[in-house]
């Protein structure tokens, strides 16, 4: 009998929808149907059935071909390579659970690596802006239950977060927003007329790359001063009207995306957006949120902040303390400056998503990819280690774009012999400790490793 599993979390985008229904085969081996998910999420779940999914690590041979090897050999290679490097770079975590992120932190610290995640090429500038200016935000339920004005600035959820608008931002009926879309005014700020812009009441089609000036114009108008007739290609009247709508909102919600973080000024575009949000709170309630890309890309920001105090670009090579300064300790800069001599790509695809020149620099040194699937990074790696897919055949905690933790389920059994990220990293860590003749540091989170005999002896208060 096929089984129905409900309230499944979707490991694709930052919306982290946890209302997916999955029908799996009787033997827990195959996903038969996926309901409620968007097309991308559905494809993701169905792709897990792919019979060609790698089941063993593969090592590149002298002739350029890849040969399957056993896990212990791969673990030994990864441990030795990272220990031998003067400064390894670990990058990725677009699709890893938080347990894996905590586990990789131990390896990174042990090997004196730089620990970075996909935010470095996505919302990293948003972190820089938060460092400088804070982050007046909320959970998505607040937007859903209260927001009557929603601004999409440099983001296109209809494409990047397909169910965002129906679950949280435009269409849903919330506690104080029982009329749904009817009750919301939507503004879109984007240089293209995106599918999100088409849904908006007002689309401000600004000149690409001039978000900062436009934010400043909004703030200047809000303070009651005059602005030039046209700012960033937008007429003064339109700006004044948009500011008026935001100011008169009961609850104004600003979502922003790569349109702000990938363009000139990067962090300062968001920095200005945060200033605008703050200003609006002198008149009404206003919140702002980064449209984080992956279902758990907020995770490393959380996990590594509580372990190291920094969300990304964490240079652990000093051994005594962590150092962070994006621009210096960020993956692409490290690559372009030839400042690392080993690259470990985990649950992401630097091969496809870094500018190709950065890939070429990284490829001068040992290149290891940890990923459940084949991707560009695996196909240029010296070693590819497959793992289970978090949210599909491995459960775990993930952080949604609003930093709400969601405990994801596994819907099918993992491939036999294939470890989770966490298990793999723990084995690599133990191997590193063996190689360096040091004791592993396990805390309560790792009771099972610390006291393997006592797993069952839990509660004797």
């Amino acid at each position: 009998m096929p089984k129905l599993i409900t309230q499944v979390g979707c490991p694709y985008c930052g919306s982290s929808c946890d209302d997916i229904e999955v029908i799996v085969s009787d033997d827990n081996k195959k996903i038969l149907e996926v309901h409620n998910a968007c097309i991308i999420g559905t494809n993701l779940f169905m792709h897990a059935n792919d019979p060609t999914r790698p089941k063993l690590p593969r090592m590149r041979q002298a002739d350029g071909s890849m040969k399957e090897i056993a896990y212990p050999e791969a673990i030994d290679f990864m441990a030795k390579t990272m220990l031998a490097a003067k400064k390894p770079l670990i990058y990725g975590f677009g699709s890893t659970n938080c347990e894996g992120m905590a586990a990789v932190a131990r390896i990174a610290e042990k090997s004196g690596a730089v620990l970075d995640n996909c935010a470095t090429i996505c919302h990293g500038p948003s972190f820089l802006a938060m460092f400088d200016n804070g982050y007046p935000s909320c959970t998505l339920g607040e937007a859903k239950n209260r927001a009557d004005v929603v601004v999409f600035w440099g983001c296109n959820p209809m494409h990047a977060h397909p169910r965002h608008t129906s679950r949280y931002s435009i269409f849903p009926r919330g506690y104080f927003t029982s009329k749904g879309q009817m009750q919301r005014t939507i503004l879109s700020v984007d240089p293209r007329q995106t599918d999100t812009a088409k849904l908006a009441d007002i689309h401000l089609m600004l000149d690409q790359g001039h978000d900062y000036e436009l934010f400043d114009a909004f703030r200047t108008v809000l303070k009651g001063y005059d602005i030039p007739d046209v700012v960033a290609g937008i007429k003064k009247e339109t700006i004044v009207k948009a500011v008026d709508i935001m100011k008169k909102a009961r609850f104004c919600m600003i979502f922003f995306g790569m349109g702000c973080t990938h363009t000139d000024g990067r962090n300062h575009n968001i920095d200005a957006a945060i200033s605008l949000t703050r200003d609006l709170n002198n008149y009404t309630k206003c919140s702002i949120m980064a449209m984080r890309g992956h279902y758990n890309i907020a995770g490393p920001g959380q996990v590594w902040s509580w372990i190291f105090g920094f969300p990304y670009c964490i240079d652990l090579s000093k051994g005594t303390h962590a150092h962070m300064n994006p621009g210096e300790t960020s993956s692409v800069d490290l690559a372009m400056r030839d400042e690392v001599d080993c690259f470990v790509n985990i649950g992401a695809d630097a091969g496809a998503h870094f500018p190709i020149q950065a890939v070429q620099h990284l490829k001068k040194h040992p290149f290891i990819t940890v990923d459940p699937n084949f991707n560009m990074a695996s196909e240029i790696a010296d070693l590819h280690i497959p793992v289970r897919i978090a949210g599909v055949d491995e459960p775990g905690v993930v952080y949604r774009m609003d930093n709400v933790p969601i405990q994801f389920k596994a819907v099918i059994d993992g491939l036999p012999g294939v470890p989770s990220d966490e298990e793999l990293f723990d084995m690599v860590y133990e191997r590193m400790c063996e190689l360096t003749n040091t004791q592993p540091v396990w805390i309560a989170a790792k009771e099972d490793r610390k006291h393997p005999a006592n797993i069952s002896a839990v509660n004797e208060a």
């Binding site: 400043d216 909004f218 000024g265 920095d271 690392v340």
Partner: protein
């Protein structure tokens, strides 16, 4: 005064983190001792002697010590960082953090510098004959206390984020600047003798900017108030005087709102 000369002997494979290349660290040491001072290359502990030949002994104090690096330091970070006195001269390029957190003394880089030159500087002088990358005289990430004092002069061009969160001191860019000048500043002076692309004085609370060339995209929060004749860094000229950033908060002094000033050569 005593001069210590470092001659590069090899290029670091990664970047050399040379926090110890400062008059303060050298003071009171002879050449052999200086050669044993620790640096880092990635996680490996290395010494100055691994990458330079050292000649000459340092003075008794930082103030009595001049350091000359007779060669290129394109792959050497932190030259002169946190120094309080004395001088450092590099006959070539230098990497990031030249004069970072510097409190006194002089640094002269005869080539180019990379980013974060003069980050969170408190005093002293930095002179760069070539160009600078980004974040000249900026604050460390998250700190609202940027450059507080001292002078940075870049003879060539500079990139983005010049004087971010600046509180005091002077930055002079003799060439062109890219974007973001004095963003979030609450004091200090930035002079750009060439052109700037834009974002000059955004979110600026207090402080002064002079631009001799053109600003391609003016911040909408700056308003022209008058025209003034000024002498700026030896140049006498008429400037259009703007105040701003009108979108930002501003303190009051004696009942009057204090704005940041932008002077654009007329």
């Amino acid at each position: 005064m005593a001069t210590v000369t470092l001659t590069p002997t090899k290029t670091p494979e990664l970047m050399l983190e040379a926090n110890s290349v400062t008059p303060d660290a050298f003071a009171g040491k002879n050449a052999e001792q200086i050669a044993t001072l620790e640096c880092r290359e990635g996680k490996t502990h290395v010494t100055i002697g691994d990458f330079f030949t050292v000649s000459g002994n340092a003075g008794a104090t930082a103030a009595e010590t001049d350091i000359v690096i007779a060669g290129d330091c394109t792959r050497v970070k932190y030259i002169g960082s946190k120094m309080t006195a004395g001088t450092v001269t590099v006959n070539g390029n230098a990497d990031m953090y030249v004069g970072g957190w510097m409190k006194g003394g002089k640094i002269h880089i005869k080539g180019n510098v990379d980013s974060f030159c003069g980050i969170a500087m408190e005093g002293g002088e930095i002179l760069v004959d070539g160009r600078a990358q980004n974040h000249v005289g900026c604050a460390y990430r998250g700190d609202w206390r940027g450059m507080k004092g001292g002078t940075i002069r870049i003879k060539g061009d500079a990139g983005n984020d010049i004087g971010t969160f600046m509180l005091g001191g002077t930055i002079i860019i003799e060439g062109n600047a890219f974007i973001h000048v004095s963003t979030h500043a609450e004091g200090g002076t930035v002079i750009v003798k060439g052109n700037v692309d834009g974002r000059v004085g955004g979110q600026m609370v207090k402080g002064t900017i002079y631009v001799f060339g053109e600003i391609k995209f003016m911040m909408p929060g700056f308003k022209k108030v008058d025209k003034v004749d000024l002498e700026v860094d030896g140049t006498k000229a008429t400037f259009d005087h703007y105040i701003g950033d009108l979108g930002e908060r501003h303190p009051k002094s004696k009942g009057k709102t204090v704005f940041a000033d932008l002077y654009l050569k007329a």
